[in-house]
């Protein structure tokens, strides 16, 4: 049997960071990823942060990959504006929370994991190869077992092999965690469900619309009626030439009042402010005259398709300085004006010759959904089992504090700590849980993110209060009057927070993370203080069938998920809660059609839930 020092399972940003760090430390490691390549099965909100906490230290992405990260990595835009909007109908009340976004942060970049993880994989893979390891993709791990003092890893595609240490980075639905019994499956109360769409938007139009410079980005958050009374919020981030628009909300809130996830992202898109943000110019093809001879119909169809494609490509290029430059330097066009002239002429041809209409609408590129673990409720206290170390979402370590949601950077920080612990174990040749596991656990305790999952940070709290200083006290006061008075006073705040931390998050959370806080208060704010926003058009929302049709799948004819109880209450709710409608009811029984599954794990709790076999299943393009 082949043997390797370290096996990292899961090629998301955490797993890849672990691989890179181990290579940095001169250790051999292999990473096993089930998707066809790293990045095809990852989804993020998403913003990637780099932090500089006042106490302790965070291991950031640039520490792992070096300065080449900021210069070379395909990161989208550096977020310089961070706004929170309270919504009710067409009324919006905006609070500038940029200070909260910048709190103890070096930077926050909007990212698309399809591209970014691919880059991480290239970097980590090359480094790992120099140490005799590397990345193996298209392989799904089936089991980790201990035989005769050896740790044996079995997969669906390869012959079994051995590893001395294992780092489990296989996400919120970690099969490693479940198979080994290291922890229980997460329950709805411990999870958020996130759903998002990628919207197309030419580069300079983004900058104009959001009032940002070429290097900058904006993040807009939404709370109020956009979440259809579910505890959570909406978000809109600017990427280079796309927007990430989505919603994140308590999974148990969704269980109480089941709604299809796509209705939540639709509610956000229908909000007039969001609609105005996502709008663009779209070409609508005319129906071809059926009386024309068949060859002519075909000819027209191909001609229009080609012209519309050209118009879109030219338009995107015209609104991108780098693309304009490339076209002129490449000799295709003599000047940028010429590009505009060609663009206009293509449009005239479409309008005049083929009666194509140009309307205001938005263009959706990809629909996605995933579950996110709330570290406050489900972080593994001792994130190891025998010689397996758990990192990131697999260990339940997501940071959720009000609008502050961090997962990517937490996973990377965990990854470095795990890699360091494993390297130490290799040097001592001691992989036992007492040594390696406990050491790792201790380092996790020292992580500033772990602190965030256990205590309230009073300085962060202050920023909110400062941002909310324009809010009339009577709105907040009605509910939290006493608390608010306490918090507003500098001296008392320290005491109050200290007291709150003694009480513990679990007692406070129901108060703070409630429908009141996330829905009612914002709605009232918007009603009383908000300005009306008018949408100039009505966005055409794709149906769920259209959204699924746009996704790319490699179907494995056998289903990777087995329904255990076809009549349970939980499973019946899955008919609504599965983001891609995989479940249906027939004659009182639940049936599953797995072909559209996007592997979010919403149904994991009561099914025999596995990832598909290597290379199979969904392949995200953007992520």
């Amino acid at each position: 049997m082949e043997s390797y020092e370290v096996a990292i399972i899961g090629g998301g940003s955490a797993g890849l960071a672990a691989l890179k760090q181990l290579s940095n430390l001169g250790k051999q490691a292999i990473l096993i990823e089930a998707g066809k390549k790293a990045g095809t099965k990852n989804v993020s909100g998403g913003i990637l942060y780099s932090k500089k906490p006042k106490r302790g230290r965070a291991y950031n992405v640039e520490d792992v990959y070096g300065s080449v990260f900021l210069s070379d990595a395909p990161i989208e835009r550096r977020i310089t504006q961070y706004m929170l909007h309270a919504t009710s109908g067409n009324k919006v009340f905006t609070m500038d929370l940029t200070a909260a976004h910048e709190y103890q942060a070096n930077f926050g970049y909007s990212v698309l994991l399809g591209k970014l993880n691919s880059w991480f994989a290239k970097q980590a893979g090359e480094s790992a190869e120099k140490q005799g390891g590397g990345i193996v993709s298209g392989v799904h791990v089936r089991s980790v077992s201990w035989q005769d003092g050896k740790t044996v890893i079995e997969t669906d595609e390869l012959e079994p092999f051995e590893a001395k240490a294992v780092i489990a980075a296989d996400g919120v639905n970690s099969e490693i965690a479940e198979m080994t019994g290291a922890r229980n499956k997460f329950t709805p109360e411990q999870l958020y469900q996130g759903v998002k769409v990628i919207v197309k938007m030419p580069e300079e139009i983004i900058e104009e619309r959001f009032g940002i410079g070429q290097e900058d980005g904006a993040a807009h958050l939404y709370a109020g009626d956009v979440t259809l009374n579910h505890i959570g919020g909406g978000f809109l981030y600017t990427n280079r030439d796309t927007l990430s628009v989505g919603a994140v909300y308590h999974y148990d809130s969704l269980m109480q009042r089941p709604a299809e996830p796509y209705t939540l992202v639709n509610a956000l898109l229908k909000n007039p402010m969001v609609a105005e943000f996502v709008k663009d110019e779209v070409a609508v093809k005319e129906e071809i005259d059926r009386n024309l001879p068949k060859e002519e119909q075909l000819r027209v169809r191909f001609a229009v398709s080609k012209l519309v494609k050209t118009w879109n490509e030219l338009r995107d290029a015209y609104h991108s300085p780098s693309a304009r430059k490339r076209l002129v330097e490449g000799g295709k066009y003599k000047s940028e004006e010429e590009i505009k002239a060609r663009l206009d002429s293509v449009r005239s041809e479409l309008e005049g010759k083929y009666r194509t209409k140009f309307v205001t609408d938005y263009v959706e590129l990809e629909y996605a959904a995933k579950l996110v673990p709330d570290g406050k409720r489900c972080a593994m206290r001792k994130p190891y089992y025998k010689n397996i170390l758990f990192i990131g979402d697999a260990a339940g370590r997501g940071v959720f504090i009000g609008p502050r949601i961090e997962g990517l950077n937490v996973g990377i920080d965990d990854a470095v700590r795990a890699a360091n612990a494993v390297a130490r174990a290799i040097d001592r040749n001691d992989f036992s849980s007492n040594s390696m596991g406990e050491h790792y656990s201790q380092m996790i305790e020292e992580s500033p993110f772990t602190r965030d999952m256990k205590e309230i940070d009073k300085d962060y709290l202050k920023i909110f209060l400062d941002a909310a200083k324009d809010v009339p006290k009577d709105i907040i006061g009605q509910r939290y009057g006493m608390v608010f008075k306490l918090m507003s006073s500098g001296t008392l705040r320290g005491l109050a927070v200290g007291f709150a931390n003694i009480l513990g998050y679990d007692r406070l959370l129901p108060l703070v993370e409630s429908e009141d806080t996330y829905v009612q208060v914002p709605i009232e704010l918007a009603e009383k203080m908000g300005k009306p926003v008018v949408a100039t058009y009505e966005p055409t929302l794709p149906t769920i069938a259209q959204r699924v049709a746009q996704l790319k799948y490699d179907d494995d004819r056998i289903s990777h998920i087995k329904v255990l109880d076809h009549e349970s209450e939980f499973m019946k709710k899955m008919v609504k809660l599965c983001p891609t409608n995989c479940y249906s009811m027939e004659d009182g029984e639940i049936t599953l059609q797995h072909e559209a599954c996007i592997e979010c794990g919403t149904c994991a709790k009561e099914t025999e839930w596995r990832h598909p076999r290597g290379e199979k299943g969904v392949n995200y393009q953007y992520g």
Partner: protein, 293 residues
């Protein structure tokens, strides 16, 4: 790096995929307007050769007979199999060759690679345009190599210098048979279109990545690996190549005449629900079901 020496015979063929292929009014292929690419069966043969590189560290040479633009096929093949050498046999004299004359050129060329000490030569099952499937076996015969066709997977016993391969045999009226054969090197393998290389250890997967990366870099500078041979450099007998060396010629091409109608069809309007309903009923009747009216 082992001492296993492999050659792959490939062909540049028209791209038959929608959007790329172009037909003349008379239904014949419009070669001028149709893009040319590495033929799909040649691509499978290249993947089969790559397996030997990953598993045994074999050295690979890709060869083709064709016009100067056929180097595109060699480049695409190199991308698939990380070839160490690319050979193009090109000469006006080779034009118009049928399979026997082509096999003569290929055999002469391959005999020159690596001092003529090839262990395995791969070819695809057939070309997607000519589709005769004859060139591979005929080249094998001229080389004097054992021919194994329809191979769906293979392994090499380096110690005993034998190949163990599984072949798919389909005979009309019989169930398909998978036959396992063993033959001493050198062999000529015609790969079955269904062949899919599978690498099932971690070390093979890592080697696969390593060689794939190398293949990308090499294919970008493929001209460095390219050697072009004309008739004289190859040393072929002019009487055995090109048109002079071809026993067969294409005499004519015509439309297959419409056969006499053997059934009289009832024409139904596809947009009429009533008529479709009647068709559905008829279907059930034919299948032997009972239709409740």
């Amino acid at each position: 790096m082992s001492d296993l020496k492999i050659a792959v015979i490939v062909k540049l063929e028209p791209d038959f995929s929608e959007g790329n292929v172009s037909y003349n009014a008379d239904g014949t292929l419009n070669r001028a307007e149709t893009k040319s690419i590495l033929g799909p069966h040649s691509a499978v043969a290249s993947s089969a050769a790559f397996y030997a590189k990953v598993k045994y560290g074999a050295r690979i040479a890709v060869t083709t007979m064709g016009p100067p633009i056929a180097d595109t096929a060699l480049q695409q093949a190199q991308l698939l199999c990380d070839a160490d050498e690319l050979h193009l046999y090109s000469d006006r004299m080779f034009a118009g060759a049928d399979t026997l004359a082509t096999a003569e050129v290929l055999k002469t060329g391959i005999s020159k690679v690596e001092g003529g000490k090839m262990d395995i030569v791969f070819s695809g099952h057939r070309a997607s345009d000519g589709e005769t499937g004859q060139t591979g076996p005929q080249t094998a015969w001229k080389l004097g190599f054992t021919f194994l066709g329809n191979v769906i997977d293979y392994n090499v016993d380096m110690q005993n210098r034998v190949v163990r391969a599984r072949r798919m045999i389909s005979l009309q009226g019989f169930y398909d048979v998978i036959e396992e054969v063993e033959a001493p090197l050198p062999v000529f393998i015609a790969i079955d279109p269904s062949y899919k290389a599978s690498f099932n250890t971690v070390s093979q997967r890592l080697a696969f990545e390593k060689y794939q990366k190398e293949a990308k870099e090499r294919a970008q500078n493929y001209k460095q690996y390219l050697k072009i041979f004309n008739a004289q450099q190859l040393g072929v007998d002019p009487k055995l190549v090109g048109l002079p060396g071809s026993p067969t010629i294409v005499y004519k091409v015509e439309r297959i005449p419409k056969a006499k109608a053997s059934r009289k069809a009832e024409v139904v309007d596809g947009s009429s629900r009533d008529q479709i309903a009647k068709v559905a009923a008829k279907m059930y009747e034919v299948l032997g079901g009972m239709v409740i009216k």
